[in-house]
């Protein structure tokens, strides 16, 4: 049980860490000043959630590792985030669509988890659910503006939908770990969140006059640590300081 809980928490924490990392790459490079604020703001929410999850995971593991040990000192094959969060940022529309997808998945997740039998998780969820609702709103508004904006912005949003489509299904993937969490009343089964996700994204796409086209082949493997080639370069930067100065306090 605690093995499954640990894996479950690491998956969730890694999702948030890596997506926060990607968003933070935008700092100072956004299309307008308001977004130069919004990007680190959302990244900050994600890193905050990651910290809470790693701290709890470290506690569950009980081996004296810290949040930073878990975030910085694992091997690439041990990171278990879904593939969507590690995708390169692409253009602003692509980043906003990725954000919408992730938030639209997390929002019902956190809502359910806020009544989890696991009180620590419930506490994390209660805070996260509000932040996630803001991410949906913010990213969703952009998807609408860009989908129903100019010819170019529409073309770019369609390209983003196409590029991210293979990574949507993995969010809803279940396995023995998720089954155990569900059974124990800790967290919802990912597949059970699909309807809500489809409603959220569907409403926004309708307003944006965009259509979701599922990918011919879904990509998977992140939960088993099989990443894309972009992941290694994320980790080279992320881990650089911790690897270079082992044992130092910052």
């Amino acid at each position: 049980m605690s093995d499954a809980l640990l894996t479950f928490l690491l998956r969730l924490a890694d999702d948030h860490l890596i997506l926060g990392h990607r968003l933070s790459e935008w700092c100072g490079h956004a299309p307008m000043l308001e977004e130069d604020l919004a990007m680190p703001n959302m990244a900050l929410d994600l890193i905050g959630q990651a910290r809470a999850l790693y701290q709890y995971a470290a506690e569950i593991e009980g081996k004296g590792r810290s949040e930073d040990d878990l975030a910085y000192l694992r091997r690439e094959r041990d990171y278990v985030n879904c593939l969507m969060v590690e995708r390169p940022n692409g253009d602003f529309g692509h980043t906003m669509l990725r954000q919408l997808y992730f938030a639209a998945f997390m929002e019902p997740f956190w809502t359910m988890a806020s009544t989890s039998r696991d009180e620590t998780l419930a506490g994390i969820a209660a805070k996260a659910v509000k932040e996630t609702a803001y991410h949906i709103r913010h990213a969703g508004e952009w998807v609408v503006r860009l989908g129903d904006g100019t010819e170019e912005s529409r073309r770019r949003m369609e390209a983003a939908i196409d590029a991210l489509a293979p990574y949507v299904d993995e969010l809803f993937e279940g396995d023995a770990v998720s089954a155990e969490m569900t059974k124990a009343g800790i967290a919802p089964e990912p597949a059970s969140l699909r309807a809500e996700f489809d409603r959220t994204v569907g409403a926004i796409f309708a307003e944006a006059r965009l259509t979701f086209a599922p990918a011919a082949y879904a990509q998977t493997g992140g939960r088993q640590g099989r990443h894309g080639e972009a992941m290694g370069f994320i980790l080279a930067d992320l881990q650089h300081m911790q690897r270079t100065y082992p044992g130092a306090t910052w």
């Binding site: 700092c27 703001n41 890193i47 602003f92 503006r145 912005s153 300081m241 100065y245």
Partner: protein, 315 residues
């Protein structure tokens, strides 16, 4: 003449000048230049620190750095708004920044080479900025003064955070201590340069003082900064890269060595390590974002048109 005298009387009476008040063109221009430069500094200032976000050595520091960079964007926003009250648009100011016409604080043309630079920027650069900015909270132009009150609060938080990073390094491993010393060595003199040329060489000083845009001269502020900062550095056990730095009992101030003004002007005029790259990064963000801004406008227009069509149909 009579108008100028009346205006000066308001200033002398510590009245706040507000956007719709009449004001001399020189006053308006000086403010536009200064607020614009200040806003641009916040915006460009996101870059050297942003450079370390993906490599921040702990999650706690990463979160703090994200929050700091976000605050800087926020300061830029207040300041652009303050400048807009003087009739200059954000687009216009942005174009002036990107074309190189408008200046920003030259310190951001130095690169952040190690994590300790993040500490040094908070401690020294934000420290110097606060020295400059606290008197601006009492600036005669109301919107600027009010913006500065908010900015100063956050800046002093950043300054403490930066100092705490330096403290952690100074109390850390030998390598960390080296890193802190190296950062102090590189950032100390540029921080002193942040206060601008000596009063004797300063272009805009006198008029700004008279109009109570500024309340202290460059040299006064620089001295205040040195006096406040040196004991902090000594407490860290670090050495300032200035053999002439020492307490002058008589003056009640620290004496310090001569500033390399050639370096200052070189960096101001484009010869710093990062000048080209800072502007190139902002220009790229602006150019790459063009389609986004256009789409936002087009969408707003479509919405408006649809709303009107609905209203018309309903009538």
């Amino acid at each position: 003449e009579a108008f100028l005298a009346a205006f000066q009387a308001r200033i002398d009476a510590e009245d706040k000048i507000e956007p719709n008040d009449p004001m001399p063109e020189g006053y308006r221009k000086t403010l536009v230049r200064q607020i614009g430069q200040h806003a641009h500094s916040e915006i460009v200032g996101m870059l050297p620190e942003g450079n370390w976000i993906t490599r921040a050595p702990s999650l706690r520091r990463k979160a703090a750095l994200l929050a700091k960079v976000q605050d800087e964007g926020g300061h830029g926003l207040y300041l652009y708004s303050a400048a807009e009250t003087l009739g200059v648009s954000r687009e216009q100011m942005t174009e002036e920044l990107l074309s190189g016409k408008a200046k920003y604080s030259s310190i951001f043309n130095y690169p952040t080479l190690t994590w300790a630079d993040i500490g040094a920027i908070g401690w020294l650069v934000d420290g110097a900025a606060i020295m400059n900015q606290i008197p601006l909270c009492r600036c005669s132009y109301g919107p600027y003064a009010r913006a500065m009150i908010r900015v100063c609060k956050e800046e002093s938080f950043h300054q403490r955070q930066g100092y705490e990073i330096m403290m952690t390094l100074a109390n850390g491993t030998a390598e960390q201590k080296d890193m802190a010393q190296d950062a102090l060595d590189r950032w100390w003199w540029p921080s002193l340069m942040m206060f601008g040329p000596h009063d004797s060489d300063s272009q805009h000083g006198d008029r700004s003082m008279k109009w109570k845009i500024k309340r202290f001269t460059n040299d006064e502020l620089r001295q205040k900064f040195v006096d406040a900062t040196v004991p902090q550095g000594e407490f860290l056990g670090l050495t300032f890269p200035d053999p002439e730095l020492k307490w002058n009992e008589e003056r009640g101030h620290y004496d310090f060595g001569p500033i390399d003004w050639d370096e200052f002007w070189r960096v101001v005029k484009g010869g710093g390590t990062m000048n080209r790259e800072r502007i190139a990064a902002r220009r790229k963000a602006w150019d790459d974002g063009k389609w986004v801004r256009e789409a936002a406008l087009a969408h707003a227009e479509k919405r408006r048109a649809r709303r009107e069509a609905t209203k018309l149909a309903a009538e």
